[in-house]
């Protein structure tokens, strides 16, 4: 990628939760492009562009651990909040004793990945009140902003691996440099991981449950899956996998 970035990320734990096993969490074997996008957005993002993940390098062996945690089973109620805003005397808290649920999680341990990504410009004005720039200027400005922040460790919120309790350490890697050598085990190379979550597609839907915060449009989140494949070097070529996902016969 001519105008792309490379970021080395690592951490002690990760949980890229499978959507089908959400109550008792089970992680995917490797990072999803959605989680990679989340890490990059935590470091630098503006509504004027969006991150597109090109490759994910798996740099450490896939190891698991299992934990149990006490959580609650209810969420904050929107209806009650609205009533409280309008002055009703309602208790918005959750009584833990009656809402307690113990949930188990199957997590990844000691993870390390390399993310390669590029950006796609959605609005050619670098700032909302600025003037339109050319493609290369715009991309260049955003990427150098990202580079400065990645090198200095700046972020809007702590980047996380799938869920917020698993923080990410990150390091900027120059385009001309390589990621550290992958220690992925041989049995996990040349491996077909089956259908994995690629990302969520927010489509407009008048009956959608998600409301866009700046424009008020109603959206529906539709998951998109792709057939991930780790090659011999431990690299998942996301774009290639996306293209070939549905041309193969299922199963």
């Amino acid at each position: 990628m001519a105008y792309g970035i490379k970021l080395h990320v690592w951490g002690e734990y990760a949980c890229f939760t499978r959507p089908e096993m959400k109550a008792e969490r089970v992680s995917y074997d490797v990072m999803t492009p959605s989680a990679a996008r989340g890490i990059l957005e935590a470091i630098y993002w503006k509504p004027q562009f969006s991150w597109k993940i090109d490759r994910i390098h798996v740099l450490s062996p896939i190891r698991w651990t299992s934990i149990r945690r006490n959580e609650v089973k209810s969420k904050a109620s929107i209806a009650n909040s609205k009533k409280a805003i309008n002055g009703a005397d309602i208790d918005l808290g959750i009584q833990v004793e009656s809402a307690r649920q113990q949930r188990a999680s199957l997590l990844l341990r000691d993870v390390a990945y390399g993310i390669e990504a590029h950006i796609e410009i959605r609005d050619y004005r670098f700032e909302k009140s600025g003037s339109k720039l050319s493609e290369t200027e715009c991309v260049g400005k955003h990427l150098s902003c990202f580079q400065r922040r990645a090198e200095s460790g700046g972020h809007f919120h702590q980047p996380y691996f799938g869920t917020r309790e698993f923080p990410v350490s990150f390091k900027w890697i120059d385009q001309s440099d390589e990621f550290p050598e992958s220690t992925l085990e041989a049995k996990d190379r040349e491996k077909d991981l089956g259908f994995m979550l690629h990302d969520l597609d927010f489509v407009e839907n008048p009956k959608g449950k998600i409301i866009e915060s700046n424009r008020g449009r109603r959206l529906d989140a539709q998951p998109r899956f792709y057939r991930a494949f780790i090659d011999n070097a431990g690299v998942i070529d996301v774009n290639h996998c996306l293209e070939t996902s549905f041309s193969q016969t299922a199963l």
Binding site: R18, E20, A23, E24, R103, K209, A221, Q222
Partner: protein
């Protein structure tokens, strides 16, 4: 990956219908206890018991019936051509709400009558006439009904051998129904098959047979509380799986859990394993993990176990799987550990997929790491197992079975499958047990040896028998303790509380404060023991000297030993003690030194 592997398994299990009772799409397997026999002449029906009375207790027979299963909940949901007594007859045993039973009967009747026009079959029409001619009060004429009231019933026409729901026109109609009703659900991309299909709201049939989970069936994929839903999606749409795939994976898993050879219990995790094709190894593995005591094993079990042991032995000696296993080592192998969780769900404790060859290699590696000299060999009354089973290892971590830490089994299983270091919790628990009950047996020594061998940065290997060239101070101190104990035993005979009971814990944790005292009392024991036999004293002294001085002189007694060193201490003690006892069994039992006795 998990659901996908189970989905793939479905086609294999369907092909082996003798072993696995899998219901095809749109059907399910239910427990039938009674039969409703339709009489063509009078257009009424009578009720017969359908249970299997050959055993001590009457048991229901499982049959394939149309429909996915009795839906849960308080709504009225008649099933097609099978149901419980409330729906079919309007009667329930000890009924708290008789009006509801009447309602359910009427719903069932209306449901079947409504279908009469669509299903043009005279058997079905007969059923409708019988429905019309029956009223719930008539149930009192059948006192046997109380016995069968807990199961489901099916229909049969008097004089015919097949059941009503198996008649060809009815089956055909039902299959057509199934295909058209699929489109009622919301469409989405299935995450197992990748196809655009109707998405299942609830994944049926429920999974039965996981320990500590709901007996009636629990779900792996469930969103039964607000906190588990995201993006405003409800239930099954949170993790879109097509109806067909949901049924297939659930049926596969249920079949595995119901089949004895695929299922073992590892601690609190109900574990199933399978290979993508039927293999001979698949049949042996259960014996390997969980085998019954020697005397309970059948001849076939013994033979399987033998072949497995030979395979593992040869693999651990360095053979390659291609030559050793009968089956293709590249056959894919899967193992899944499940636990029942709070909230009526099933959680995944561990999941591992690899090839049969790799799995056998890891198993062989595990046993090679544990291998240590046996205390009780083959001739003894209860010989130590050459290949200890997982439950035997876990049992050493607590005084009673219930004291074993529950999640240790999953962690231990994972370390065996991955070839990674054994959990420190295991070593910790074993060392604590040794200090508490002062017993260092073969299994405990094996566990400690395995743990030490697999520690990262393990500097020296742990030998299988006593090795006097091993320089580690803690190992030598353990051996020394064994010698001191033996001397006391030779001097005083069997006493209530020897030095092992009194001093083992402190000797293994803080040698510097204990060993000087022990060596003082050792002198007294030595002179008493050698009062009969002068050679004994010289022999023993020489032994103690060699421990303290070889391979290099022990500079001082360490003041404190950490967990790793305490493990080495225990192994040294075990090795030396087994060594001492072995010498005693040999003809020169008085241990005179050949050089002094001329």
């Amino acid at each position: 990956m998990i659901l996908q592997a189970l989905n793939d398994l479905h086609s294999r299990l369907i092909a082996e219908e003798k072993t696995y009772k899998i219901a095809p799409d749109g059907f399910s397997v239910q427990k039938i206890t009674f039969l409703v026999v339709l009489d063509p002449g009078s257009e009424t029906w009578s009720i017969m018991d359908f249970q299997d009375r050959s055993g001590k207790k009457p048991r229901s027979k499982t049959l394939l019936v149309p429909g996915k299963g009795k839906p849960p909940g308080s709504g009225i949901t008649p099933c097609f051509l099978w149901d419980n007594t409330g729906y079919l007859l309007g009667y329930k045993k000890d009924d708290p709400k008789p009006e509801r039973s009447v309602e359910t009967f009427e719903a069932s009747r209306a449901y079947h009558l409504g279908l009469e026009k669509e299903i043009s079959d005279d058997g079905f029409s007969l059923l409708c006439r019988c429905f019309e001619n029956w009223s719930p009060e008539q149930a009192s004429e059948y006192p046997d009904l109380n016995e069968v009231a807990t199961g489901f019933g099916i229909f049969q026409i008097r004089g015919e051998t097949e059941f009503l729901h198996n008649r060809a026109p009815i089956q055909k109609w039902w299959s057509n129904q199934m295909e058209s009703s699929e489109t009622a659900a919301e469409m989405g991309i299935c995450l197992i098959t990748g196809e655009l299909r109707p998405i299942a709201e609830l994944h049926e049939p429920k999974i039965k047979g996981v320990k500590d989970a709901q007996g009636a069936g629990a779900l792996i994929v469930s969103y039964n509380a607000d906190a588990y839903e995201s993006f405003g999606k409800k239930s099954g749409m949170n993790g879109p799986v097509s109806e067909g795939a949901a049924q297939r994976y659930s049926k596969s898993l249920n079949a595995l859990l119901a089949t004895d050879k695929h299922r073992i219990q590892v601690g609190d995790a109900t574990t199933v394993f399978w290979t993508e094709k039927p293999t001979a190894s698949e049949d042996c593995l259960k014996q390997w993990f969980e085998g019954a005591a020697e005397k309970d094993q059948s001849a076939q079990d013994k033979a399987l176990l033998q072949s497995m042991e030979n395979a593992v032995r040869r693999l651990s000696e360095g053979g390659s799987p291609e030559n050793i296993l009968e089956d293709d080592p590249k056959t894919r192998f899967f193992i899944l550990g499940l636990t029942g969780q709070a909230g009526g769900r099933i959680g995944v404790r561990f999941w591992h997929q690899s090839t049969l060859g790799e799995f056998m290699e890891k198993l062989a590696q595990h046993h090679a790491d544990l291998k240590i000299e046996r205390q009780w060999g083959d001739g003894a009354k209860r010989p130590d197992p050459e290949f200890p089973k997982i439950w035997q290892l876990l049992r050493q971590t607590g005084r009673e079975s219930k004291d074993v830490p529950p999640n240790l089994a999953g962690t231990l299983m994972r370390s065996i499958l991955d070839g990674t270091p054994y959990p420190q919790l295991l070593a910790n628990a074993v060392v604590n047990r040794i200090r508490a009950d002062r017993e260092i047996n073969y299994l405990r020594a094996a566990i400690l040896k395995g743990w030490l061998t697999r520690l990262p940065n393990a500097k020296h290997t742990i030998p299988m028998t006593y090795d006097k060239t091993k320089p580690d101070p803690s190992y030598r101190l353990g051996a020394l303790f064994a010698v001191l104990e033996k001397t006391q035993q030779d001097a005083l005979g069997d006493i209530n509380a020897g030095i092992r009971d009194r001093f083992y814990a402190s000797a293994s944790a803080t040698p510097a404060s204990v060993f000087p005292r022990l060596l003082r009392t050792y002198q007294h024991h030595l002179s008493k023991a050698s009062s009969q036999n002068k050679g004994y004293q010289i022999y023993r002294e020489r032994e103690v000297q060699s421990i303290l001085a070889e391979p290099e002189p022990l500079p001082e007694f360490p003041s404190h030993l950490n967990l790793r060193d305490q493990g080495l201490f225990a192994i040294g003690f075990y090795h030396k003690r087994t060594d001492l006892w072995r010498k005693k069994d040999s003809p020169e039992s008085k241990e005179p030194d050949p050089e002094t006795t001329n």
